[in-house]
Subunit: 129 residues, 2 copies
């Protein structure tokens, strides 16, 4: 049986994908995949997603050079979420942090919980590698 039969894409044909650093287990980001982006992810070994805001297929790192090499793809008991282990090049977050989850709740507000690796201008101000 193909594992695709275990997966449930939502009404828009999408499934959330949690991206985790295969080295230190830090959760880096969450993004959405449709079947075509998952197939391309498996075929190329680089993560590809579907942008809901831009309605566009994209490869992680296509602009920044911060690509993700896939090491493992797991899916949950309900088949409605993916967990993908990757080797991350540079910052996963477009704001220059290693992880998109760089802010934690503190009291009624929030705190920055990790150092910024790069200034966003530094990432996007020059051509993608």
């Amino acid at each position: 049986m193909s594992f695709y039969e275990n997966l449930k894409f939502d009404a828009n044909g999408l499934i959330p994908a949690i991206i985790q650093d295969a080295g230190n287990s830090r959760v880096l980001m969450m993004a959405w995949m449709n079947r075509a982006s998952l197939e391309t992810t498996i075929k190329t070994g680089k993560t590809h997603f579907w942008s809901r805001s831009r309605q566009k297929f994209w490869m992680k790192g296509e602009t920044s050079g911060h690509t993700q090499q896939v090491k493992d793809i797991a899916f949950d008991c309900d088949g409605d979420c993916l967990l993908i282990q990757v080797e991350q090049v540079g910052a996963a977050c477009h704001e220059g942090y290693r992880s998109c989850f760089f802010r934690s709740v503190e009291g009624a507000g929030s705190k920055i919980a990790e150092p910024r690796l790069q200034d966003p201008g530094e990432i996007y101000g020059k051509p993608a590698k």
Copy 2:
């Protein structure tokens, strides 16, 4: 500024919450929260969710006893996903595995990637602790 102002709940008033084991960083599950379930999670220190299939507010472990004690709540750069660190009692998965992501893609199929801790009947066949 309240951190709630950084969060974007979707058209149904929901936000996905990734639940991670604070001890070993294993991603345990993903579930959905509305604002009330997030507020109750913060107030009680135990994770609460909104079930889309049952259209019902629920506390993780209310039936199984497998509760989650919250250690940290982070949110991503876009404010549309939560990452919550917890101390998990027993199996997070209703199928008796520590993590709901117990299956990984292997070739065209899948493999079980971790041992089952409990039989589901053992979890749900007796009253919740």
